[in-house]
């Protein structure tokens, strides 16, 4: 199989994630979209590493997964806190930083 197939899959997943981030209002959905984008880049890393014959990329992918887990943990914690304060996680409603 060619490398391009992997890159194509990654690109599709990344685009879905990016689209979701731009259109969704719920904080949780946005976080899930971020995960999609992260995993798209992970696929790229692993693919290049596998075809390039260099294991470094796979190690990076492992790191990136660990960091994604931590990021998700913090993100959900923030959302829970937000929900307690505002009663909503609709990010369009949370705009107190506006002018």
């Amino acid at each position: 199989m060619s490398l391009y197939i992997y890159l194509l899959v990654a690109a599709i997943i990344f685009t879905i994630g990016a689209y979701g981030i731009m259109t969704q209002k719920s904080g949780i959905k946005i976080l899930m979209c971020i995960e999609l984008m992260l995993n798209a880049s992970n696929i790229n890393l692993v693919a290049f590493s596998s075809f390039g014959g260099n294991a470094t990329g796979q190690v990076f992918a492992l790191f990136s997964i660990a960091i994604a887990a931590a990021e998700a943990g913090i993100g959900f914690a923030i959302l829970v806190a937000l929900f307690r304060v505002n009663g909503t996680i609709n990010l369009d409603k949370i705009n107190i930083l506006r002018w």
Partner: protein
């Protein structure tokens, strides 16, 4: 073997500092035993090192810090005698403090800070380069601030701590400027002349500095040494930066003892002694040292005469005695060369013993009667025999009692008379007798004020009914040990001078010892110091014990001289009101008013510039929608644009 572990001399008290600070409140007597054990360890290593390197060895360890700077240890004769003195006196003061501070709730903080104080002073002593010396010197300053303000809930103590920190900081800035100037000169010398560092030597090491002396221009050398001396003036409380030392009495008495005997004020004298080869090549700087020292000796002694606070008297005494040490370096340095370091350091050591003793005795008295005021004491001899006796020994040592012909006397007799003789010899050679006159008059005043203190505290009838009692053994035993040293330390004089004379030779610096013609002062010169000493004792006895003169009629608010002395020549007011409030604060306020209000506000408030910027801001802030999705979209758009641009640029 001991020399290899020289770093532990500093590290042990540092470890004790950390442990006591964090775990002291869980240990018996506030964790006092940790610093005591650590400093005892430092003392043992110092002692062992001394026996290893005696009579003409040294310990030198050095490692690169960065670039051309290093960390290192240099233990030569000069350093090792200081190390032994500092660790020993500090050890005794720490033991004493177990009793003195027994009722204080903040013991862990006290013992942690004194431990760090001792460590910093030991680090000053065994530095092998001037930069490390300066860093340790600054830690000493910090610890003095913390300890003088130990009872920080007292406003006077907090103010005194601040004053000590700020006044010594004036000196520190001069010292740092001296180091920078020295560094510039050293690099110039290396690039422009034939001088080069020996392999393994670093640029600010003392031995490199001394080796470069012949290549540095004399005027530069004079400026550098004067700046160094400025640092010493601040740290050692010399005129005109002496004001902080008497105020520093606001701390616990044991802290005063540490500052005055072992760990702080001697650092200034040690700095001049340490860089003495540079001073010798800059005679003008040496002259300044001599005159400042001589003037301080007599100036401080006059104020010691009238103080009513027992610790203040001792504080002025310290300032005066430090003046003697500077005087010795200056005058004897010009006529006797390297021997001046021996003379000065000998007085430093013997002073450390008897001044620590005086302070600890004063602490014992204060502990017993609960006041610092001499006028409320009196008649304590019967109740506090050990304290009274040891304090009398210390007073004898301070006044320099002894018999010149027979070489019998207290420690102060040997050390102070050598300084006065050195000053006389300087006068004899150069015809400039002023330093000698200063020193002999100061000796008379010294004797008067110290016996005044003793008679007022211990003789006569109690002026107030206080239930005085002798202090516990943990306090009196250090007193007795120090008293032994105050009495008998002087007999090591000849050996001490001989040992220290080799000091700079070890570093490859030859300072000529100018002993051309044998100098034999007349009998009067030999006897004069002891004559004025006895005279002082008699005067004090007659006035304060026999009361042949009614002092209450001389000491009145109407006597201008008494007013002048009691108000310490108006120095506190001068420095805090004139310099502090009027000059510094006034200048700052005026500058602030002018620059901020007129210039900056004038440009900004309600002008074209400000109005344009404000209206522009009103328009641009609409971009901040506060909707996260918008931000992300713009960001993705930006990243996409960037990638496209990179592709275009790449091909």
């Amino acid at each position: 073997m001991f020399g290899d572990y020289a770093a532990l001399i500093v590290l042990l008290p540092v470890i004790a500092f950390v442990l006591t600070l964090f775990f002291g409140n869980k240990l018996p007597s506030g964790g006092a035993h940790l610093p005591i054990a650590a400093i005892a360890g430092s003392f043992i290593i110092s002692l062992g090192t001394f026996f290893e390197i005696y009579p003409n060895g040294s310990v030198q360890q050095s490692m690169q810090w960065f670039s051309t700077l290093n960390f290192g240890i240099l233990i030569d004769p000069l350093a090792v005698v200081m190390l032994m003195m500092v660790s020993f006196v500090s050890l005794l003061i720490h033991i004493y403090a177990v009793g003195y501070m027994a009722h204080d709730p903040a013991k862990p903080r006290y013992f942690a800070e004194t431990s760090l104080f001792t460590a910093a002073m030991l680090a000053v002593v065994l530095s092998d380069n001037i930069l490390q010396f300066f860093m340790a010197w600054e830690i000493v300053g910090l610890c003095s601030y913390l300890l003088i303000g130990f009872w920080y809930h007292k406003p006077t103590a907090a103010a005194a701590a601040k004053k000590a920190f700020l006044v010594t900081r004036v000196g520190d800035v001069l010292f740092l400027a001296g180091i920078v100037l020295l560094y510039v000169n050293m690099t110039n010398v290396i690039t422009n002349t034939g001088f080069s560092l020996e392999p393994g030597n670093f640029i600010l090491q003392f031995k490199s500095m001394f080796a470069a002396i012949p290549y540095i221009a004399p005027t530069q050398l004079t400026i550098i040494t004067l700046l160094f001396f400025g640092g010493a003036v601040g740290k050692s409380g010399q005129f005109p930066l002496h004001g902080w030392l008497p105020d520093a009495m606001e701390g616990p008495t044991t802290v005063s003892a540490l500052i005055h005997a072992a760990t702080m004020v001697t650092a200034g004298v040690y700095l001049v002694a340490r860089t003495f080869p540079m001073f010798v090549e800059a005679p003008n700087a040496l002259l300044v040292v001599a005159y400042i020292g001589g003037f301080t000796a007599i100036f401080a002694a006059t104020m010691g005469l009238v103080m009513n606070d027992i610790k203040r008297v001792l504080a002025y005494s310290t300032v005066s005695q430090l003046g003697y040490m500077m005087l010795a370096l200056g005058t004897a340095g010009m006529v006797l060369g390297a021997k001046a370091v021996g003379i000065s350091m000998f007085h430093l050591l013997s002073h450390a013993f008897f001044k620590a003793l005086l302070f600890l005795c004063a602490g014992s008295v204060i502990h017993a009667v609960g006041t610092n005021d001499l006028r409320e004491m009196g008649g304590l001899f019967g109740k506090m025999k050990i304290t009274a006796t040891t304090m009398f020994i210390a007073a004898l040592a301070l006044a320099g009692f002894g018999i010149p012909g027979l070489h019998i006397g207290t420690a102060g007799f040997f050390s102070k008379d050598a300084i006065i003789e050195g000053a006389y010899e300087y006068g004899y050679v150069t015809g400039d007798m002023i330093p000698y006159v200063f020193s002999i008059l100061a000796a008379l005043l010294t004797s008067i004020y110290i016996f005044r203190l003793w008679f007022m505290a211990f003789s006569g009838k109690p002026r107030q009914d206080r239930h005085a009692h002798e202090s516990p053994p943990v306090m009196t035993v250090p007193l007795m040990i120090l008293a032994v040293f105050a009495l008998f330390f002087g007999f090591s004089q000849t050996g001490f001078y001989g040992y220290l004379e080799t000091n700079f030779v070890l570093m490859g610096v030859e300072i000529g010892v100018h002993e051309g013609e044998a100098f034999h002062p007349s009998a009067l010169i030999l006897w004069l110091p002891i004559i004025v000493g006895v005279l002082g004792l008699v005067i004090s006895y007659l006035i304060y014990n026999r009361r042949i003169v009614d002092m209450s009629r001389i000491v009145t608010r109407r006597n201008p001289l008494y007013q002048l002395l009691l108000n310490r020549y108006y120095e506190p007011g001068l420095s805090s009101y004139v310099i502090g409030e009027k000059l510094t604060h006034g200048t700052a306020a005026m500058t602030g008013e002018f620059v901020d209000r007129r210039i900056i506000d004038g440009f900004v408030i309600d002008t074209v510039i400000s109005r344009t910027l404000l209206s522009l801001g009103d328009v641009l802030k609409k971009i901040q929608t506060g909707v996260v999705r918008n931000y992300i979209s713009v960001m993705l758009l930006g990243v996409g644009l960037l990638i496209i641009l990179l592709r275009i640029g790449g091909t």
